[in-house]
């Protein structure tokens, strides 16, 4: 499948000298890398390397003791989650953090929260519903329906997500992240627990998002095949430190990476 040439030279996010500790445990030690606009950046490494922690730092869940984050030119010592979300960063979670009792449609709608006109959905207009609130809902509902059509999940539109198989839940969570129309999409092991066919579908969706909307994607993933095929650049973490940073081919052949993580290929 050919993808049109994309321009991925300008950095949208830079993390510099990030150090994150939990008491005596140093989860991340002096890690710096950047993510360019419209690229797919993979973050890989053995378990416990600090990958999810890194994502949490970018997202504002964790506050690093040292270092700074620069997002779209603005430098911050630390990001706050609501600033990240409002600034155009959306994410998915390793263990799926959907609202289990709500339907697929409603879950994805929650992703539209920050895009809604605050006045139109405030208390008084909502009480009357017909009028500004209804118009607002229709506008956002259309957007959500387009995402549902994009992810091919029309059949489970009204199903409570708690009843869905794991693979579909992950897809719904991706839908919720997409609903926020993010500039930077953080995906934490989006393909964990999926079989081959589901993985292929997920890969296709990720590529389509990157291709159609130009969304920058940072991706934590263990499946090396996926990483090699999907990503433009890769950063490798091990025990909290960055041990490699470059194109998939460069990283694959880096001796440090082979020793720490990949092993020798058969």
């Amino acid at each position: 499948m050919s993808i049109a040439e994309k321009n991925t030279s300008e950095a949208i996010l830079t993390v510099e000298n990030i150090t994150l500790s939990f008491g005596a445990v140093r989860a991340i030690r002096d890690v710096s890398f950047n993510i360019n606009k419209s690229e797919i950046r993979a973050i890989i490494g053995p378990n416990g390397a600090g990958k999810t922690s890194m994502l949490n730092v970018i997202n504002g869940f964790y506050h690093p003791q040292e270092g700074k984050i620069s997002f779209r030119g603005e430098v911050r010592k630390q990001m706050r989650p609501h600033e990240a979300a409002a600034g155009g960063i959306a994410r998915t979670f390793q263990n799926v953090a959907l609202f289990k009792g709500m339907s697929t449609l409603d879950n994805i709608m929650t992703g539209r929260n920050l895009k809604m006109n605050k006045w139109n959905v405030s208390l008084v207009p909502s009480m009357f519903y017909y009028g500004p609130t209804q118009k607002e809902e229709i506008k956002h509902r259309q957007h959500v329906e387009e995402i549902i059509s994009f992810l091919e999940i029309e059949a489970i539109r009204k199903t409570p997500v708690g009843r869905l198989p794991y693979g579909l839940q992950k897809r719904v969570e991706l839908g919720r992240a997409l609903a926020a129309e993010p500039d930077l999409l953080l995906l934490d092991e989006p393909m964990a627990g999926m079989n081959l066919e589901e993985k292929e579908d997920m890969c296709r969706f990720i590529l389509d998002v990157n291709d159609e909307f130009g969304t920058t994607i940072a991706l934590i993933e263990h499946d090396m095949g996926v990483v090699m095929d999907l990503s433009d650049r890769v950063v490798v973490l091990d025990h909290g430190e960055k041990i490699a940073d470059g194109s998939p081919d460069e990283v694959k052949n880096d001796q440090k990476v082979i020793d720490a993580y990949l092993g020798v290929s058969s």
């Binding site: 050919s2 993808i3 259309q142 387009e146 549902i148 091919e152 029309e154 059949a155 291709d211």
Partner: protein, 642 residues
């Protein structure tokens, strides 16, 4: 309106003898009526006849700009969307011939069919279809352009012969000034005897054959059967079956354009049951698997319902099984029973039909393989006017129809009006009618072997005509035979009986020309697993279920009961299944055992499982280990005797 003069449907006026002409007629006379409904973004969106005509017109400009000329073929490959159907109309408006292809055909089949049909262009649903055609394009010399409907993933394609539908239309509209004829003139240049479409019948034995159907054949067949069944312009039809299948082409294309009812296109293949409920079609065609699926859905839900509901359901279904079909067929039923049935309608039958979307059905057909009579009667008992349809592409689907009060699951009805029907001395069904095809494309030999003197067609099916003219299908004529001891064997008939059994998924039967009858059987995983869970058997996880004795015993019970049915039937005395093998895995169209529409590829299967068949007739008790390994079984495959 076309329906005004249905008294004698033998001649169609030259202003209405092709589908594009009929499109113009509907747009002119009832342009604001709904032609299509498509569910998009969760909402059913309507396309009127006027809008349909406008879209087809613009498409035709685009196709003309590609150099499409009279007689050129265009492959249509995709799901049921209004755009696919309108592409067929646009092609035909220029005198071209649309050739719908099964979208899940393999690359080899694609190459074979597209090359054989000598297509000039292909209109595809999405990237997947485009990629498939691209991969075989080299070997199709005639192919000049590709068009896609769904733009997802198509941005990076730089080939200059690939167009989006919008791109095609745009280029066509701007080149409109150069064209000599306008749309109406082009359409009126078509004639009733022209080739309307080529439908490739999936080969059950040999290569697929291209059935050529003229406008006249399709329109007459459609009109006559509509007249018999009372189908009119106000029907609602759900178009969900493959567009390459004659069944869908007949109803969702031929009758659609002739009568002018509304075609509803589902959102996606997964949302079928929801869409059915949304639309509540009045005219419905289903292959057996859909009817079985729905039936299983109901019985599954009842099994999980509260005690009161279950007992209500059981009592009322008992009543329905007794009198329901009689009421549906308009026969005499006592007042008490009628009243009780009415009560049942309110409490049970109505709500069930409502939930399924079957509450507005005027007539429903099941086509393809015969359906389990238990399931068939279930629908009739509920008040759904379900009838078996004898569907062959070569007949435009017009051979037999049922009289209202004569519907049975194992008969396809009596000869329809203006159809002549007979059984020849070999037991093969032959017929002659206005809906007969024009021949097989580029295959005079095959055509001449089935289209004989005076237009009679040898169907290749074996059948029996009862005294009242009811036709019963037995199986493919070349499959019916006898064992070496003279017992008549119709493999298809026996396979159907086996398939109707609870724990059996599928079966292939051998016996014609052999010493005795045997079968290769696959299990219904769900039912067998359910049974094993409830029983106390402990089967190690890595052992092949299909070879376990407990499963074989289950199946033996079922097969013994079938053998009893045979011995009780005077027509089948001496018929007995003597040995069988349970095969691990399943038969499927992907593996090649079946065609896309579920018809068995007997020659292929016989070849593929040769080792097993030889072992059965070789007098062994097991299949040798080496052969067994080829079929995925560690230990030797066991041959079961009855």
């Amino acid at each position: 309106m076309v329906s005004a003069n249905l008294d004698s449907v033998d001649n169609i006026s030259h202003t209405e003898d092709t589908f594009p002409k009929l499109l113009l007629k509907h747009a002119r006379e009832r342009g604001s009526e709904p032609a299509f409904r498509q569910k998009r973004l969760g909402i059913w969106q309507t396309l009127t006849w006027q809008q349909a005509k406008d879209t087809a017109e613009k498409l035709s400009f685009g196709l003309a700009n590609m150099g499409l000329e009279r007689g050129d073929k265009v492959a249509i490959i995709g799901q049921n969307t209004s755009m696919m159907y309108l592409s067929m109309l646009a092609t035909q408006s220029l005198g071209g011939v649309p050739v719908p292809i099964f979208s899940d055909a393999s690359n080899e089949e694609f190459q074979l069919l597209l090359a054989h049909a000598e297509i000039k262009g292909a209109i595809c649903q999405d990237q997947e279809q485009i990629d498939k055609v691209e991969s075989v394009k080299e070997s199709i010399k005639s192919l000049e352009f590709l068009v896609f409907e769904q733009p997802r993933g198509m941005r990076g394609y730089t080939q200059n012969y690939i167009y989006s539908i919008d791109g095609l239309i745009e280029a066509g509209v701007s080149a409109k000034g150069d064209r000599k004829n306008n749309f109406e003139d082009e359409v009126m240049a078509g004639k009733g005897d022209d080739l309307s479409t080529i439908i490739y019948t999936p080969g059950t034995t040999a290569q697929p054959k291209g059935v050529m159907l003229s406008y006249r054949a399709l329109i007459l067949a459609g009109l006559k059967s509509a007249k018999h069944e009372g189908i009119n312009a106000h029907e609602n039809v759900l178009a969900y079956l493959p567009i390459a299948w004659i069944g869908d082409h007949l109803i969702s294309y031929a009758q659609h354009n002739t009568l002018g009812f509304t075609i509803n296109c589902p959102e996606s293949p997964d949302t079928l049951l929801t869409d059915l409920k949304d639309i509540s079609p009045s005219y419905f065609l289903a292959p057996p698997r859909i009817l079985e699926q729905v039936h299983a859905e109901i019985t599954g839900r009842i099994a999980g319902a509260a005690r009161l509901k279950q007992s209500l359901y059981n009592s009322f279904m008992k009543l329905a099984n007794r009198v329901g079909d009689r009421i549906t067929s308009g026969k005499n039923v006592g007042p008490f029973d009628r009243f009780a049935y009415l009560l049942g309608k309110f409490m049970i039958y109505g709500p069930i039909k409502n939930t399924l979307g079957f509450n507005k059905i005027k007539v429903a057909f099941n086509a393809g393989d015969p359906i389990n009579s238990r399931i068939f009667n279930f629908y009739r008992a509920l008040g759904i006017n379900l009838k078996p349809l004898y569907l062959q592409a070569e007949s435009s689907g017009y051979v037999c129809l049922h009289q209202q009060n004569e519907v049975r699951s194992n008969s396809v009805g009596q000869a329809a009006s203006d159809v002549e029907l007979r059984i020849n001395e070999d037991g093969e069904i032959e017929y002659r009618s206005a809906g007969i095809f024009s021949g097989y494309y580029k295959d005079k030999k095959a055509t001449n072997s089935v289209l004989i003197d005076d237009g009679w067609f040898k169907s290749g099916d074996a059948g029996e005509l009862s005294e009242n003219g009811s036709l019963r299908l037995i199986g493919r004529a070349d499959e019916v035979g006898s064992t070496t001891s003279g017992v008549k064997v119709s493999p298809q008939y026996i396979e159907n009986q086996l398939r109707f059994c609870d724990f059996i998924g599928n079966a292939v039967v051998f016996g014609a020309g052999r010493a005795f009858v045997s079968a290769l059987i696959t299990i219904d995983n769900e039912k067998v697993n359910g049974y094993l869970e409830k029983s106390d058997e402990n089967i190690p996880a890595d052992e092949e279920i299909s070879q376990q004795d407990i499963v074989a015993n289950l199946l033996e019970r079922e097969i013994n009961s079938i053998n009893t049915i045979f011995s009780d039937d005077p027509d089948n005395s001496g018929l007995k299944i003597e040995k069988f093998i349970i095969i691990p895995g399943q038969f499927s169209s992907l593996n090649g055992e079946f065609t896309q529409m579920g018809k068995l590829r007997r020659v292929f299967v016989t070849e593929k499982y040769k080792k097993l068949i030889d072992a059965i007739y070789g007098g062994n008790d097991i299949v040798d280990a080496k052969a067994s390994k080829n079929f995925g079984v560690k230990a030797a495959i066991k041959i079961r005797r009855l």
